[in-house]
Symmetry: C2
Subunit: 325 residues, 2 copies
């Protein structure tokens, strides 16, 4: 199970390969948030999201001869790119199983990171069976997106950096808002802060209708979403909290925060105008919670992780036109 020593070991293995993302702030956003607001821009991470940290951690933790046979992952988005680049930098092969209707740009990007992309038809083919067959035939190791201790350890390196950066800013009490899908980033950051900055408390942020973690934290047991899709926050839409991540998050996190799609878009535009970073809608929900749920947050400082920036330019330009002035 992931603990602080695994997170610190993941950081050692990462070395300087991950960007040590700065803490950004803006007097304008402080005013909107009603307190000092610090943004951790993981959109600036290699491959455009924090997922590179977990991908590298998991691939680098494999025994050399296992790793040499290659890895496989299921993902249509950020995890695909994180695993593909981690494999490429290790000089091993990777297979990424993606739905055939995934955006062409994501397929192209994953291939450009050196992965072999295997497409499947979501209506007629069984992804898991296809992946299991490939893995068995080639001896590939499956890298899961969040319910995997070494992936959680890699995402936890974000928390180690936040602990150091908050200390440098003189902050020892604050909520740390984390965009939450399966809960791997949330759990990793929570574990790191428990050990290194116990006055900082993680709170997951989710889009409306996909607030499974918020509801699960409230009830104390895993709750599923009834909605199947339709959120623009595609990067963090999951069916339910992870079996490994949820117990960690239940023990360590404060109540979840939930924002609307429009609030996520407004936060995305404010990150553009005020912080000069490109955030995707799903990566902006924590910032949206800091800005638009201020009454649900306590204290004179708050940290929000902007988890990814792989956004469609047309969607982005449309949001600028709607909310940019």
């Amino acid at each position: 199970m992931t603990d602080i020593s695994m997170i610190e070991a993941a950081r050692q293995r990462l070395g300087t390969r991950a960007v040590y993302t700065p803490l950004l702030s803006s007097a304008f956003l402080d005013e909107l948030a009603g307190r000092r607001l610090f943004v951790k821009p993981e959109c600036l991470q290699k491959t455009g999201s924090f997922k590179f940290r977990g991908g590298w951690s998991a691939v680098s933790a494999l025994e050399a001869e296992v790793r040499a046979r290659g890895v496989i992952a299921f993902s249509s988005g950020n995890h695909a790119q994180g695993v593909a680049l981690a494999a490429k930098l290790h000089g091993i092969s990777s297979v990424i199983v993606m739905p055939s209707d995934a955006p062409q740009v994501k397929i192209d990007n994953t291939r450009a990171y050196g992965a072999e992309v295997v497409l499947y038809d979501r209506l007629t083919e069984d992804r898991d069976a296809l992946g299991a067959e490939l893995a068995a035939a080639r001896g590939l190791t499956l890298i899961k997106p969040f319910d995997e201790p070494q992936v959680i350890a890699g995402q936890g390196t974000v928390g180690l950096e936040i602990a150091e950066q908050a200390r440098a800013e003189g902050i020892d009490q604050a909520d740390v808002l984390v965009c939450c899908g399966g809960g791997g980033l949330t759990a990793g950051v929570a574990l790191a802060l428990e050990a290194k900055a116990p006055g900082l408390r993680v709170r997951p942020a989710e889009p409306a209708d996909f607030d499974d973690t918020a509801r699960s934290l409230a009830s104390g047991t895993i709750e599923r979403n009834t909605a199947k899709g339709g959120s623009i926050c595609d990067a963090i839409v999951t069916t339910e909290p992870g079996r490994i991540t949820f117990p960690i998050n239940k023990r360590l996190c404060g109540p979840g925060l939930v924002v609307t799609d429009e609030e996520a878009l407004r936060a995305m535009v404010l990150a553009f105008t005020r912080l000069k970073i490109v955030v995707e809608p799903g990566g902006a929900v924590a910032l949206a919670a800091a800005l638009f749920r201020r009454d649900e947050i306590k204290g004179d400082a708050v940290v929000a992780v902007c988890s990814g920036g792989n956004v469609d330019p047309v969607l982005f330009a449309d949001a600028l036109a709607r909310f940019g002035s």
Copy 2:
């Protein structure tokens, strides 16, 4: 005159107030550039450009009783915001003299940083006379945008960081491309690298028709631009190189690089898609030179400073629509 000890002293005075901006990279951009490309995103700096460094350096270098009377600057853009925030953080007043036809958002932003904005009519009023009158009446100190040794020293802190970051990446020979208007950032970075990373050579990057520094470096004497305006790279459009900055740049810089407005826009869009940063056209000319003037650059690595990100959302959305796919 600015030297390395002044730059190091400016860094001491800045402390942790400036963002230590990371070095970003992307395998896609490496391929376009034909070599390893590292981007120093000063658009992520406080106030959205490197100008905060020089503003802070100059304000903090004043004697306390002189500083207490306040400062004044002429600027419609990034220097205005840099000086205004530096003054606010020192608890002193600032007056920024801006043309009355400056974009309302820039006027609003400068006021929001605590400055008193004095508007003048460019057709009927003499800006310098107006400023001199205000300065004399109130005992304000003028902070020039580039031809001022302490401003150059502040901008030089970008060079100190590049020297450290290049060393960490194992780079000891490279061209460092710097967006160049009056030449303050160029001169500061060149002085810092001369002392700390002598294998790194600064080369100024400019937009077509405003390539006064490139032509001046070629001829060895100060050359003026004949064009008066019309570039979208407004942040770095000047009439001629500075009287203090040019001798420094003549001694230390390699040949200038010149890009078209369209290349600057394409670089801005590539910074969006590949690095997840928001860069203004004038702040993207160095990146454009790295991507589109690869035959004029030698070596297996290049560094480009993206100097600012204060871009109009409508212009940005339009560029995404034109070049984003």
